[in-house]
Symmetry: C2
Subunit: 120 residues, 2 copies
């Protein structure tokens, strides 16, 4: 049982858009990521995905609905299949909760932003 | 897709030890709870449980290991079957991740602290 300090976790992450695993439970992963700039449009076929903004302001663009705008201390769950694009004008620190094995770019496999999450 | 503000969520919770559901994803619930005092010793037979301290300091006592001490911005996952007792000398605001339907007192069913989580 490993206590994870979020600030230390974020500080240890060097790359943007490269989530690291902080905890595993019930087949799900808690991941930390630093985001900056525009990500790719993508969806996760079978995985709902939760974003909790720890620091900064995150916009999640959606195809069919108004953009979601999250401040620090706000969370939202994006259901499986919903195409979305995270955009961070300035750096955002975010905690993600999603099934273990979920790829960051979802259905978009041939992206230079794709990577498999390692542990913190 | 509902953006949940943690501060507003905690402010809307009147009772201690009475988690409220903030989001559902992949069969899991994200819950918010205000804690103060000593909870009951309990375990969850089939459910790992994550505690993320948003405000305050939480001690999680364990039977076989040293107490866990979590400050704001720290998280830990308690594996299924591990008996534990949360203790909050002063008020603690905590975010929980656990399977939908997990009862707060786990195996201890006849407790006055037991309750079924409602949505925020």
């Amino acid at each position: 049982m490993n206590v994870v300090n979020l600030e230390a976790g974020f500080d240890s992450i060097e790359e943007y858009w490269s989530p690291k695993i902080a905890a595993e439970l019930n087949g799900q992963h808690v991941k930390l990521a630093r985001l900056k700039g525009e990500f790719e449009w993508h969806h996760h076929a079978d995985a709902d995905e939760l974003f909790l903004v720890v620091e900064g302001r995150l916009v999640i663009e959606l195809r069919e609905e108004d953009d979601l705008r999250l401040e620090a201390g706000e969370l939202v769950a994006i259901p499986a299949g919903v195409e979305h694009r995270p955009v961070a004008d300035e750096e955002v620190q975010v905690l993600l909760f999603e099934p273990a094995g979920t790829e960051n770019t979802g259905n978009v496999e041939e992206s230079e932003l794709s990577n498999e999450a390692a542990w913190l």
